[in-house]
């Protein structure tokens, strides 16, 4: 992370959404960095604000949402971009793969119309050339009868095929950053792996950076370089994926890791994280996880911790754990504590 600035920096992002009871905070502090060419996973339960954070990068939040903080793409501020600049960012630099391709692709127009539309309307590519380009891309993501698929409509395609179409659409714009919002959650288990492999391959070939949103810690660790864990509208821990199991310092991350069912140990009961997940607006002045945390102390209920170095990464915790409990390996080095 030296030399050129990271491709994407989300700094102290706060988002409020209007509801019937006035403005309600959905993200209270999101900090995130995606260096060029790397994959960063944003992991959290539903409602933790991970999708919101991703949408804030492309300014896809509802028009009455209030955003403060900073989102910088390649050094330039996204939150203050004008209409033309925003269109340019969306058309050229950042592409998004949505969770549910069936809802996110216009059902009444053909696959070909959907795929070529952005090229034709945002870059003035001739329809013929656009068609040739996306047909080649469709073949590349493993759709053999690409020219037939181009003439079909979304209801005629399976979910797995449609998600490949969505990925093709994202790649067609030759972006530098791919935002994938739970791209496999709406798919059958059998097609999930295929779709993940396609994304991984396309990324490797093009040197694409990726912000990968998921609730699946294991999947995140498998496909990403770094992992950011979100809880109740804030990023609580950020660390290299390869150290997730040994060096997770935040109690929430550790609880998530511990609650994952172990296929080998069939006799053991499932361990859930105790308590229920909070929304960002429900949190008090202290640490959002404190009410569910086994190690919470007085300080945790009164003062909100900010991200500070812990273990191999950053953790927003007053008392980050040493590398003890998740793996039985005793901690060899001292862990810096928060304030």
């Amino acid at each position: 992370m030296t030399g050129s600035p990271p491709l994407l920096v989300v700094d102290d992002l706060r988002v409020d959404l209007p509801t019937r009871d006035g403005m309600r905070r959905v993200i209270h502090r999101a900090d995130l960095t995606v260096p060029a060419g790397t994959a960063v996973a944003l992991v959290g339960e539903s409602g933790s604000g991970k999708s919101m954070t991703a949408r804030a990068v492309l300014r896809l939040l509802p028009s009455r949402a209030r955003t403060t903080g900073s989102v910088r793409f390649d050094g330039s501020e996204v939150t203050t971009l004008g209409a033309a600049g925003l269109r340019r960012l969306r058309a050229h630099d950042v592409a998004m793969v949505f969770q549910d391709p069936r809802a996110h692709i216009n059902p009444v127009r053909t696959v070909g119309d959907f795929l070529t539309e952005a090229l034709i309307t945002t870059r003035g590519v001739r329809p013929r050339a656009a068609e040739a380009k996306v047909t080649a891309l469709l073949r590349e993501v493993g759709i053999a009868d690409a020219s037939r698929r181009m003439r079909q409509r979304p209801p005629e395609l399976s979910g797995g095929l449609l998600q490949r179409v969505m990925i093709t659409a994202a790649l067609a714009g030759e972006p530098r950053l791919l935002i994938a919002d739970e791209p496999t959650t709406a798919l059958d288990v059998t097609t999930q792996a295929e779709v993940m492999a396609i994304i991984d391959e396309a990324r490797a070939e093009r040197g694409l950076a990726m912000l990968f949103i998921t609730h699946d810690l294991a999947l995140a660790a498998a496909v990403c370089d770094r992992i950011a864990v979100m809880y109740a509208g804030g990023v609580v821990e950020e660390l290299p994926a390869r150290h997730l199991h040994e060096r997770a310092a935040h109690p929430y991350t550790r609880a998530l890791l511990a609650s994952r069912p172990d296929p080998a140990a069939t006799a053991e009961p499932l361990r859930a994280v105790p308590g229920r997940p909070l929304s960002a607006f429900e949190t008090g002045p202290g640490c959002a996880f404190a009410p569910r945390c086994a190690h919470a102390q007085d300080l945790c209920h009164t003062e909100r911790p900010s991200l500070s170095p812990a273990g191999e990464g950053l953790a927003a915790c007053h008392f980050p754990a040493a590398d003890a409990r998740v793996t039985p390996q005793p901690g060899a080095r001292s862990t810096p504590h928060g304030r």
């Binding site: 340019r88 949505f98 692709i105 216009n106 539309e117 945002t122």
Partner: protein, 316 residues
């Protein structure tokens, strides 16, 4: 796929028209009163011979099935029988008047669809004060019955301002355009409001839909998003509502033609019904039903062509 859908809808159209013809003929067959007495009129009790003669000439004593088949056969050959009160063939009465009514309906349809869709779209896209204004005004207009609207328009634009004629149908295209403006407005108002509201909610629903979010996320310029995603996808519901509106106009014609003294088939229906002129009422009722069903079938077919999911569901 779409061929089978069209064939099915056409068969349903014919079946509906047949059922309607039985109902129309049957309802008036069992209606009380003797039409023959109307034909003779006057204060004196009519002579039994004369009544019998009229009954024979107009087939008033035929059994139901025989009478129905004769009537239906005649209708299919363009012969709708003789009017008792006008002393004229029903076919002639109708062809004479249908031009005015068709002009009125077409005029009102344009007045409904063009401003209705425009207002609804603008309200949904712009939001804010304009949206509220359109919603309030259209809700108020929807509550105004056609006959009240007719009286208000006559009083305001014709009597007070003397802008437009309040009576008759006029001659030629421009004459008709001038004479039929107020009636078309009266006929269109409530439906215009309805179409505007349906458009507004359809456009709003599309604007909030995920596939439109995708289009924004890809940097597609607004005019393309609105045209190719929002309006394109809202076109199905818009078209069906417009179709229902136009079909409803045909029924609404009677009131407006009476109110504005237009010599059309709506007014003819009202007058004939009052005089128990069976042949005319039967013919007009059947024509109304057939036109209504044809319009609805056309709408269904066009809707299916606009959105392939409809025909897929229909034949699955």
């Amino acid at each position: 796929m779409i061929g089978r859908f069209v064939a099915r809808r056409a068969a349903m159209l014919v079946a509906t028209a047949l059922v309607a013809s039985v109902a129309v003929y049957g309802a008036l067959f069992i209606a009380p009163g003797d039409p023959a007495t109307l034909l003779i009129g006057g204060g004196k009790p009519p002579s039994p011979q004369l009544l019998a003669e009229i009954h024979r000439q107009y087939h008033l004593d035929d059994p139901f099935l025989q009478g129905y088949l004769r009537w239906l056969g005649g209708m299919l050959h363009g012969d709708a029988g003789q009017s008792l009160t006008y002393k004229d063939s029903v076919t002639h009465l109708v062809t004479e008047r249908i031009g005015n009514t068709a002009f009125l309906v077409a005029y009102a349809a344009v007045l409904i669809i063009v401003p209705g869709v425009t207002l609804g779209t603008v309200a949904a896209l712009r939001g804010g004060f304009g949206d509220t204004l359109v919603t309030v005004v259209t809700t108020a207009l929807m509550a105004v019955p056609t006959f009240v609207m007719s009286v208000v328009l006559i009083w305001w634009l014709s009597v007070q301002w003397d802008w437009l004629p309040a009576y008759g149908a006029g001659e030629g295209f421009t004459g008709r355009l001038e004479h039929l403006t107020l009636p078309a407005l009266a006929l269109a108002t409530a439906w215009l409001a309805y179409v505007a509201q349906v458009t507004r909610s359809a456009v709003r629903a599309e604007l909030a839909s995920e596939h439109v979010e995708t289009a924004w996320a890809r940097g597609v310029p607004e005019r393309f998003v609105v045209r190719k995603h929002v309006l394109r996808n809202a076109a199905g519901p818009l078209f069906s509502v417009s179709g229902v509106a136009v079909a409803g106009l045909i029924a609404g014609c009677s009131i407006v033609e009476q109110a504005f003294g237009i010599n059309g088939i709506g007014a003819l229906l009202v007058q004939s019904a009052a005089k128990q002129d069976l042949a005319v009422v039967q013919a007009l009722a059947l024509i109304t039903v057939v036109v209504f069903v044809v319009v609805n079938t056309l709408v269904d077919v066009v809707t299916a062509a606009l959105d392939h999911r409809v025909s897929l569901e229909g034949t699955a």
